[in-house]
C-alpha cells in the first residue's frame, strides 16, 4: 500500500459523519452510563468497522434506537443477546455468504461442541476490518495446532495482497478525480467472495476458488494499468509542452536582450 496513512485518514474523514450519527442512539446513551460488562460495548464498538460504516446497536440487536421505553421491547423487534448457538445466524443476517460457508465447514459442524462461532475470532463489538491477521497462532492455537491454519493462510496470502494493493491503487486514482466507482465495486465484490472462502476452512476449496477470484482481480488490475498508462502519457505530453514554453520564454528573453543591445530606435518590421 503506497499511502496507507493518507488512505485511512481520507476514509475516516469521509465516514466521521456516519460515526457521529450512530452514536446518537438511546442504546449508546444509556449503556455508556452503566458499569462493568453492560458498558463494555460502548467502549469497544466506537473503533470498530461496524461503527465506521454507521452500523449501530439496533442494526444487530433490533429494538427502537430513538425511544428509551421501546429500545429493548420485543414488540419493536429487540432480539437481546444471542446464545452461543444463535450467534452465526445473528451475524449471518447481513453476512449470508459467510454463514453458508461456515455452516458447511468443520467449524460449523462443531458449533456447540467446542467449535468456534463468529465472535470467537472476530469479537462481538470490537470487530475490526477483516484481514489475514485474524489467522494467527494465538487465536487458532487455542483449539488445535496452527499448521493447518497456516497452510490456508499461505494459500490466501497472494490474493489478499493483490486485493489490498488494488484497493490502495484505486484510492489513489479516486483522489485525483478518476471515476473509480465501477472498479471499486468489482474489487469489493471479489473481496467478499474471497473472505467468505476462508470460513470453509478447506484448503482444496480455497485453492479452487482462488483462481476464479484472481481472474476477476486481474481484469480490474488491467483497467488500473490502462488508466495509469494514460496518466503517464499525459505527464509526458505535459512535460513536453512545459519544455516548449520554457524554450519560447528563453528565446523571447534573448531576443529582447538583442534588441536592447542595438540601441533605442529600431524600425525593423
Amino acid at each position: 500500500m503506497r499511502y496507507p496513512s493518507i488512505f485511512c485518514a481520507l476514509l475516516l474523514i469521509l465516514l466521521l459523519p456516519l460515526l457521529a450519527a450512530a452514536q446518537n442512539t438511546v442504546c449508546f446513551q444509556c449503556h455508556s452510563g452503566l458499569d462493568g460488562t453492560l458498558a463494555a460495548p460502548t467502549k469497544e464498538w466506537p473503533g470498530s468497522i461496524h461503527a465506521e460504516n454507521g452500523i449501530s446497536c439496533h442494526d444487530c440487536h433490533g429494538g427502537d434506537a430513538t425511544d428509551f421505553a421501546l429500545a429493548m421491547s420485543p414488540a419493536s423487534g429487540f432480539l437481546g443477546v444471542p446464545g452461543e448457538g444463535e450467534i452465526p445466524a445473528f451475524c449471518g443476517r447481513c453476512h449470508p455468504g459467510v454463514l453458508e460457508d461456515y455452516r458447511a465447514s468443520v467449524h460449523g459442524a462443531a458449533l456447540g461442541a467446542g467449535g468456534p462461532h463468529c465472535a470467537t475470532c472476530h469479537g462481538n463489538h470490537a470487530v475490526r476490518k477483516a484481514s489475514l491477521d485474524l489467522i494467527n497462532p494465538q487465536d487458532c492455537g487455542r483449539c488445535h495446532d496452527y499448521a493447518r491454519a497456516e497452510n490456508i493462510r499461505a494459500a490466501m496470502q497472494e490474493t489478499d495482497a493483490r486485493i489490498v494493493g488494488l484497493q490502495s491503487d484505486l484510492g489513489r486514482l479516486h483522489r485525483i478525480g478518476i471515476a473509480t466507482e465501477g472498479m471499486e465495486g468489482q474489487v469489493f465484490s471479489a473481496r467478499n467472495s474471497f473472505h467468505r472462502l476462508f470460513h470453509t476452512v478447506d484448503i482444496q476449496t480455497v485453492r479452487q476458488k482462488t483462481t476464479a477470484i484472481q481472474e476477476e482481480l486481474e481484469k480490474v488490475r488491467q483497467q488500473v494499468a490502462d488508466v495509469e498508462a494514460e496518466l503517464s502519457r499525459r505527464k509526458i505530453w505535459g512535460g513536453g509542452a512545459i519544455g516548449l514554453l520554457l524554450l519560447v520564454g528563453c528565446l523571447a528573453l534573448v531576443l529582447h536582450r538583442s534588441y536592447l543591445e542595438t540601441g533605442s530606435r529600431n524600425t525593423d518590421e
Partner: protein
C-alpha cells in the same frame, strides 16, 4: 510585394492602419528603466483570455442544475476527450490569476503608480480585482460538490453580519434561506455572463486609463519625481525603448513562464486545488469537517474567526478594503520613490506580512 504588406496597405488606405500600428507598436516608447513588473498586465490579459476560452468550452458540457451538475463535471473529467485538461486549466488558472493579480497590485503599490494622475487607473483596477474574486467565488459553487456547497454556505453566511439588512442580504445572495437550486441558478448566471461582462467593461476602462495617461516612470534613482502637471498631459518617454518589438518580447517571455507555472499545476499537481471533499456530490444534510475557503479568502475567514463579534470582523475587512480602494486619495503626496517613503514602505511590508500570516493561520486553524 509580400502578402503582409499588401494587407497593411489595403487597411491603411481605409483606416490609416500604418498610423495606428506606429502609435501603438513601433513608435510607442516606454521608459528605459522599465522593469519586469510592468509585464504583469499582459500576463493577466493572457490568463483572463484563457479562462474565457476554457470557460466557454466547459459550458458546452456543464449542466447548471443540482441533480446533474456534479455528474456533468464527472463526465467532463472522465468521458469527454481532453475534458480533464480544459477543466484543470480553468480550475488551476483561476488560482494563478489571483496570484498574478496580487503581484500586480503589490508592484503598483510599491512603485506608487496609483498616485496622481493615475487615481482612476487604480480604482478601476481595484474593481477588476474584486470582480475577479467574485468570479472565483461564484465559479466555486458550480461543480456542486460537498466543498462547493459548504464553502458557499460559509461564504454567504458572512453577509449576515451586516447590521439591519444582513439576513435579507444573505437571502438575496442565496435566493432563499439555504444554499440550493436557486443559488446555483444565480451564481451560474453571474459567473457565465454577469460578472464577465462587468469585468470586460471595467477592464476596458482600466486599459483606456493606462494608455491615455501613459506608462509611469519607475520611481528608482536619484532624480526627484516631476511635479504632477496642472493640465492633462500624456506621459511621454522620449529616447525610450519601443513597445514593439522590445517590450513585446519581454511580455512574451514572462507570459511563457506563467504558463509554465500553470501547466506544472495542471499536469503534475492536479490534486492541489481539488481536496477530497471536492470529489463528493453535495449533501445538504451533512457538513464535512474542516470546510475552509480557498487560499485567497483565508485572510477574510480567519479575520472573522479572530474577532468575537462577526460584525466587527466584517467591519475591519470592509475598512481595510475601502482604505485600499481609496489609497490614491489618502496618500496623495507626489513622492513615489520607495527610498523616500519609509512610512509607506513599512506599512506595505507590515500589511503583506499580516496578509500572509493570517492566511497561514487560517490554513492551520
Amino acid at each position: 510585394m509580400n502578402m503582409g504588406k499588401r494587407i497593411v496597405d489595403w487597411l491603411d488606405l481605409r483606416l490609416g492602419m500604418r498610423d495606428i500600428l506606429e502609435q501603438n507598436l513601433t513608435h510607442y516608447l516606454l521608459p528605459r528603466n522599465i522593469n519586469i513588473w510592468y509585464t504583469l498586465g499582459a500576463v493577466l490579459l493572457t490568463l483572463f483570455a484563457l479562462q474565457f476560452a476554457t470557460g466557454i468550452l466547459l459550458l458546452i458540457y456543464y449542466q447548471p442544475n443540482p441533480e446533474t451538475a456534479f455528474a456533468s463535471v464527472q463526465r467532463i473529467m472522465n468521458d469527454i476527450p481532453y475534458g480533464w485538461l480544459i477543466r484543470s486549466l480553468h480550475a488551476v488558472g483561476a488560482n494563478i490569476i489571483v496570484l498574478a493579480l496580487l503581484l500586480h497590485m503589490l508592484s503598483v503599490l510599491f512603485m506608487g503608480s496609483y498616485k496622481r494622475p493615475r487615481e482612476l487607473t487604480w480604482v478601476s483596477g481595484f474593481i477588476v480585482f474584486n470582480l475577479a474574486l467574485a468570479l472565483c467565488l461564484t465559479g466555486y459553487l458550480l461543480p456542486w460538490s460537498q466543498l462547493s456547497f459548504w464553502a458557499t454556505t460559509v461564504a454567504t453566511d458572512t453577509a449576515g453580519a451586516v447590521p439591519v439588512i444582513g439576513d435579507a442580504l444573505v437571502r438575496l445572495l442565496r435566493g432563499g434561506p439555504m444554499v440550493g437550486e436557486a443559488t446555483l441558478g444565480r451564481f451560474f448566471a453571474l459567473h457565465v455572463m454577469g460578472l464577465p461582462l462587468a469585468l470586460g467593461l471595467v477592464l476596458a476602462m482600466h486599459l483606456f486609463c493606462v494608455r491615455r495617461a501613459g506608462i509611469s516612470q519607475p520611481p528608482f534613482g536619484p532624480t526627484p519625481p516631476p511635479q504632477p502637471p496642472a493640465a492633462f498631459q500624456h506621459q511621454e518617454h522620449p529616447g525610450g525603448i519601443p513597445f514593439f518589438p522590445h517590450y513585446v518580447c519581454k511580455d512574451l517571455a514572462v507570459i511563457a513562464f506563467f504558463l509554465v507555472l500553470l501547466l506544472v499545476g495542471v499536469f503534475f499537481t492536479p490534486g492541489l486545488f481539488i481536496p477530497p471533499t471536492a470529489l463528493i456530490p453535495a449533501d445538504p444534510f451533512s457538513t464535512p469537517p474542516g470546510i475552509k475557503p480557498e487560499w485567497y479568502f483565508l485572510w477574510a475567514y480567519q479575520t472573522l474567526k479572530i474577532f468575537p463579534s462577526e460584525f466587527l470582523g466584517l467591519a475591519i475587512q470592509g475598512a481595510a478594503m475601502t482604505g485600499l480602494a481609496l489609497l490614491p486619495f489618502l496618500d496623495a503626496g507626489p513622492e513615489r520613490r520607495p527610498a523616500r517613503r519609509p512610512m509607506f514602505v513599512a506599512a506595505f511590508f507590515l500589511g503583506l506580512a499580516l496578509f500572509v500570516g493570517i492566511s497561514v493561520w487560517g490554513h492551520f486553524s
